[in-house]
Symmetry: C2
Subunit: 124 residues, 2 copies
């Protein structure tokens, strides 16, 4: 559980930088070497390599040494796990609204003027 | 565009901390005050408030002053935008694999014995 949490920490941290998101964006169109990834940026090769290492440590990409270059590609499973975490929370929240909608629909107009109409039944 | 990128920076940064994800998790089950959010943690109220402020600045949650308390709730649109960013990259990568699969299927050895395999007279 702690390990999973650390993995999410690292994945979200990796995604919090525009250059790293740019690298992921490029990799979504196909694998690339670190030199290819560095091309659109003014940063040094070393700086891009560091970004690649952060992405690799987070699990979002995998890299493989091929001769003198290092090929990088997305790990779509890892990206999906991060998406899933967000999606579950959003859906839970939205289903809460759906339930609230049903409750309000079933609510008779007599209650419409109730002054305590907010969400007080909330368990914490 | 830059603004959108900054928003993503802040959203992913906000999500890179287990306590802040815990707060979002709690809020997915319904709105809560900062004191309610602080309950499960050993951290001080001030520390939790700071996490809430990071989440609010990122747009992932919205807060509203209600009397002496501050009610917090998820912004499901903002969560969805972050999900969407990830989902688009993953789908692009996966569709690339699908296309690759189709190419490999069409490249089956069945064509080897095709009667018009070698000399089609197209060369000039």
């Amino acid at each position: 559980m702690v390990e999973y949490s650390n993995q999410l920490d690292m994945a979200f941290h990796a995604l919090s930088d525009a250059t790293r998101r740019g690298i992921l964006d490029r990799l979504s169109r196909g694998p690339a070497s670190v030199s290819e990834l560095a091309k659109p940026y003014e940063s040094s090769f070393a700086a891009i390599l560091q970004h690649v290492q952060v992405l690799e440590a987070s699990g979002l990409i995998v890299t493989e040494k091929r001769g003198r270059t290092r090929e990088c590609r997305i790990s779509s499973n890892a990206v999906q796990r991060v998406e899933q975490w967000l999606s579950e929370r959003r859906q839970l929240w939205e289903s809460r609204f759906d339930r609230l909608g049903i409750l309000l629909e079933n609510d008779s107009p007599v209650d419409a003027g109730s002054p305590h109409s907010e969400t007080n039944g909330d368990k914490s």
